[in-house]
């Protein structure tokens, strides 16, 4: 009671000192908070980018590296993906689903192709006839790409790239048993008057014939260019390939391996944990790291400056605040001696002084939060205008040699997305963290001079 009452009276009856301390705390906090808010926004933007890129990690062969290092042809087996390794990696607790895909092809001499290109806004289907050297017109079989998946709903569907317009997905039993089903494109279905429940007769290189039941018809933004692609089961593909292989036992048919994690933010940790399990240096786990690094590079410089600002202001702030609080406490050394001589405990005196400093600090905190929020918005605008949007023109010039965007499972994100999303603002967590910094800083600053005074006996305190 005395502590609160006297602490309050001391504050309101000594306004000059209170204002001086307030001004200094306000300046230090404003600088510190501006740095923290910017830093926090950058961190949030990085999280946003990571989330936009998705929670997929692809186990890939590094053809670029093999090409750069002029890998000998006999060593090309090092690029082969290993399903056994993938299954081991899939045991990681972060993995929610592992997708294994095998690729094969089948042909038909009776079906029409669904592959086309556009000229003047009109579709032109690829012609599978040509004239041979004798002048005879030869009709080639139409090739179909078969993507064999190990799950009922392939990743292209679960990630929303394609969607079913008719029919449904196979059952788990059909997938595991290698039942000859297929999900075909809407384009192919329309070109060949196929509907769900129809059977297609296709053949392989070895002239084996397969009858595939159409379970679903899909469409999607890019489905037109993938018109001849069918989705079948991994088991069916393996079975079919082994029928045509001389050495089927050693053959690893997997062509694509994707791990879908529960949380996009787990991606980096997952890659770090599992990179050592990969069988060769020509394999890697792709978490769109290069894209992430490219996108976050402009933010890193600002982040560095903000970090420097935080640490410099934090360091200098502690010294300044300790100095000012020391003056404040020293000025009241006599009062400390008086209270001690009256029998007041050292702890209660410390509590009273810390309480007073905290009261001033809290007001300075509120003002600093408001001011730093406004100043951070200016900095935010500058970052967006000068660092993000400007950099985008440079980014666009780059291209990835082996990138096939149609097959990418990573989310699409560019500088404009980030610039739109980059919004420096204070959320509850930031305020909470800043509040903690504020409290720790003030308590530290008050305790240092008080502890020095408390080391003396009351007589020394009163005499000096």
């Amino acid at each position: 009671m005395r502590i609160l009452n006297h602490g309050f009276l001391s504050l309101i009856r000594k306004p000059a000192k209170v204002l001086m301390i307030f001004a200094i705390l306000f300046v230090v906090f404003s600088l510190l908070f501006t740095g923290v808010i910017i830093q926090n926004s950058i961190d949030e933007s990085k999280v946003y980018i990571r989330k936009q890129l998705g929670a997929a990690v692809e186990y890939k062969a590094d053809y670029q590296k093999a090409y750069n290092e002029e890998l000998a042809e006999e060593d090309y087996s090092k690029l082969q993906l290993s399903k056994a390794v993938a299954e081991d990696i899939a045991k990681d607790s972060a993995v929610s689903q592992a997708y294994y895909t095998s690729s094969s092809s089948l042909t038909s001499s009776t079906m029409k192709t669904a592959d086309y290109w556009e000229r003047d806004g009109k579709k032109e289907y690829f012609d599978n006839t040509y004239t041979d050297e004798n002048g005879n017109e030869v009709k080639e079989d139409v090739y179909f790409q078969l993507n064999g998946g190990n799950v009922a709903e392939p990743i292209e569907f679960s990630e929303g790239k394609y969607f079913l317009v008719d029919g449904g997905f196979p059952t788990e039993v059909q997938v595991e048993a290698g039942y000859p089903y297929a999900m075909i494109s809407k384009e192919l279905a329309e070109r060949n008057n196929l509907v769900v429940g129809d059977f297609m007769e296709l053949k392989d290189r070895g002239e084996h014939t397969y009858e595939l039941e159409i379970l679903g018809i899909y469409d999607g933004d890019k489905a037109g260019n993938m018109g001849n692609t069918m989705f079948v089961s991994y088991e069916f593909n393996s079975m079919m390939q082994s029928m045509n292989s001389e050495n089927s036992e050693t053959m690893d048919t997997v062509s694509r391996i994707i791990f879908m994690l529960d949380d996009p933010l787990e991606v980096d940790g997952f890659v770090e944990r599992n990179a050592s399990k990969l069988p060769s240096e020509y394999n890697y786990l792709d978490a769109a790291t290069a894209q992430f690094d490219t996108l976050t590079k402009p933010l890193d410089l600002i982040s560095l400056i903000a970090s420097l600002l935080i640490w410099v202001v934090f360091g200098a702030g502690i010294i300044i605040i300790i100095a000012i609080v020391s003056i404040f406490v020293r000025d009241r050394k006599f009062e400390v001696g008086l209270l001690l001589s009256c029998g007041e405990s050292k702890l209660r005196i410390i509590i009273q002084f810390v309480y007073e400093i905290l009261c001033i600090g809290l007001v300075a905190f509120v003002f600093a939060i408001v001011v730093s929020n406004v100043s951070s918005t200016f900095v935010s605008d500058w970052i967006v205008e000068n660092q993000l949007v400007e950099k985008e023109t440079v980014q666009e010039q780059g291209s990835a040699y082996f990138e096939t965007s149609d097959e990418s499972v990573f989310g699409e994100v560019n500088m404009n997305n980030i610039a739109e999303d980059f919004n420096v603002s204070i959320n509850q967590d930031v305020v909470y963290n800043l509040f903690l910094i504020n409290i720790v800083l003030l308590i530290l600053a008050s305790l240092v001079p008080l502890s020095i005074i408390m080391m003396f006996n009351p007589r020394q305190v009163l005499q000096d």
Partner: protein
Amino acid sequence: MEKEIQFEFKNVSYSYIDGGKQRVILSGLSYAFEKGKFYTILGPSGSGKSTLLALASALDKPESGTIEYEGKNIQKIGFTKYRRNCMAIIFQKYNLTDYLNGVENVESSFYITDKKAPPNKKELSYKILSSVGIVQSKADRQVNKLSGGEQQRVAIARALAKDVSLVFGDEPTGALDTATSNEVIELFTRLSREYGKTIVLVTHSDEVAASSDIALRLNEGKLEEMKGNE
């Protein structure tokens, strides 16, 4: 009739190093202070009067020997607890809290004690202040707007509010004019006679000493009785 001892020095010594040499201030000092008496301690500057008072009020520790309050070693009572519950001290410079007014200074005594604070602290504080000659209008003033004599009265009122039987004063009239000084000494005499408090004042003034029951002189680290007014 057996004397009732309030407070006693037992073979107390105190020295400090000054310019590389050890300076002995108190050397095996022993003296028992009777309950309800008004004592003054005289002595030349540097004789150790203030040190004696600092040791008596547990503001400092003796090098050797013990100080007892009502037969108990104050170190065992605990210095803070002893200062809080057993004694009050009044300084030459009044030692009031400058951001509080007179009544708030006095009222603060009710909080710095282990005794249960009375419910009517403010009224009681005004009453105590009135008993030392501070009227309400002055009691409500910030203490630095009061005269020296008034501030010392507030300091005495604060000591009274502590409701302890032992009051020390370190030259409490040293900064006051003669008239005010006489009024303050009169107050101390009343405290001893009317309220039965043991008063121990350190002073340079023979006049103050003359007002006390027992005047002591600190000489070469030992206390000698100069006179007894009983």
